[in-house]
Assembly symmetry: C2
Homo-oligomer: 386 residues x 2
Amino acid sequence: MRPVAILGIGQTIIDEHWDKSLREIAGEAAFAAMQDSGVEHPEGLFVGNMLSPLIGGQNQLGAFIADWVGMWRAEAVKIEAACGSGGAAFRAGLMAVASGEMDSALVVGVEKMTDKAGHDVTAALATAADADWELEQGISFVGLNALVMRRYMYEFGWKHGDFAPFSINAHANAMHNPYARLHNKITVEQFEKSAMVATPINLLDASPIGDGAAAAIIVPAEQVSTHPSRPRIVVAGSGAATDTLAVHSRKDPLFLTAAYLSSKQAYQMAGVGVDDIDVFELHDAFSIMSALSLEACGFAERGQAPRLGLDNQIQVAGGRIPICTRGGLKARGHPVGATGMYQIVEVVQQLRRECGKTQVDGAKIGMAQNIGGSGATILTHILKAG
Amino acid sequence: MRPVAILGIGQTIIDEHWDKSLREIAGEAAFAAMQDSGVEHPEGLFVGNMLSPLIGGQNQLGAFIADWVGMWRAEAVKIEAACGSGGAAFRAGLMAVASGEMDSALVVGVEKMTDKAGHDVTAALATAADADWELEQGISFVGLNALVMRRYMYEFGWKHGDFAPFSINAHANAMHNPYARLHNKITVEQFEKSAMVATPINLLDASPIGDGAAAAIIVPAEQVSTHPSRPRIVVAGSGAATDTLAVHSRKDPLFLTAAYLSSKQAYQMAGVGVDDIDVFELHDAFSIMSALSLEACGFAERGQAPRLGLDNQIQVAGGRIPICTRGGLKARGHPVGATGMYQIVEVVQQLRRECGKTQVDGAKIGMAQNIGGSGATILTHILKAG
């Protein structure tokens, strides 16, 4: 397959967009990416979305969005892998171009979650877990993550407060991202005292839902020139893997096997190792997921990821592996099916050096990891500048 | 891209499978395809499904089914394009193998629709239409098709009874398909007198819902040998296109532009013309859709497709273009997200000469066309024996 590059990106502010429909926010991100790239008529459209059938009463988002953005005749489909939908759609789009099937693909991750009451959204999000074997027990999706976090703390001897740096870092970085959902710095004290959701996960361990869309235009790398002011962003590595859907079926519920496998595939394809990654947009739906992701991808030993936070190694300024540089799921927000595309867009921003106060100095190689369910579907992408 | 072949197929009987879960029927078809092909560990899984979030409370069917069939670590995603989901998943699977990304892909179309009451299913199916601009008017999906049929009858001067041959042919063929949902022959009188659903569509114009799964294993064509007793089935052509989601947005609501475009792409890729197609599994969700599909693909002039039925040209025995040879959506059944894969499986059966009393003599080239919504997403595939 031929190398591909990301020629344009677009995103909307993540918020409660009660005044805009799903097609409008998808269009806003798509048109921004088209304008950024100069590609007005992409040949194919790949949409990442999880909840539109349940919350918006709308299926067939491929044709739906193609229609809205003026791609009436193009190929268009929706890819769904729960909260991993955006990353899965990105992978489908890059395969379409890398294979030679088309010369340009638009990928849009979109989610509109705030049109329904919170309990309806909680029920809809739970469809990411195993309906027959997990949900039938009455557990919510937060509850599943809480069991994992509690076990992790017990196994490796961490206190709840040891996870604070993950959320503090995310909130601090989001202050400088105009597209972020939350713009408030938080302290260790606030982290410790915030309202409990499902012990030990409290409000500041958990990412907020929101409405949002993010998009990218993918083209063959050979069609993109590189300039000092705007480096070419190549998709150097891509990996996809699955794990058991139900957490209880895993041999080790504290290890994200699919993150390990998909990152390994991406490292190999890109010809890089963990030490080469300058910036990592990971899937911090809950603070425990930051830890598990860092460990599975090789940034920390088993059970030791909280140490990275406590030692200031996840920060933009001087950190060994800056994460959530635009706010992460925790503070940029988590419009579930769109999140994977926000991560891609943010890594592109880093490699283009467009991140202002949260710019990682000299960032040349960035990684994005998008997780569906409690680790069942994981997509890892490595982008390179130049 | 390299040529690919279908090495194995599997399917379940379409029925009200109240005693089986979605994962069980998906597994039944998947295991049958694996056994038929001898491929025990496909490298990727592509699932076509439309309604599982709405009817089964289950998302992330990629990981869900990968888990159940023992593909725990493989790449796995779900593709959704309303009733075109099965065909879209097939196209994703064939791209994955054709591109060289993987050497074997399992594609499963699956739908479980009968666990909910009929009005819930009707509401769920309506998510294939435009929620904001069609459904808000209170129309159902059958209602939309009824408007199209009524206009077609008015424009081209056909009576309702002129559509009878489409349904009679489908029911007659299903008599010989053990996997079909319905096993009853029907007459012109029954067709004319059956209960009205949405004028002019009555019960015998409409396909029945059902629970079912169909699957195929795709591999590089060069890895498959051909024998007189079991010819190699190559995917010679593949096309995908979209139209506006809402019927009222179309310049001509009686022409399936996406069927025209996707069949043209498939003909070109396969290097064949409409006269070369020996058998055509089309998307007869309603009898009017048979007519529109035949016209858009070049088998009949505009407004003249009912003539093919009245002149006995759609029959297996001596027909110019045999359609719905295993019963079609009308009598084999229409488990929506699975239908596109049933069509692929049935074309393979024809090219392998496994169809007994509905075998098309000397069938070498077969076509399958899968439609999402009222023509918004259309996938066309051409398979060749040898």
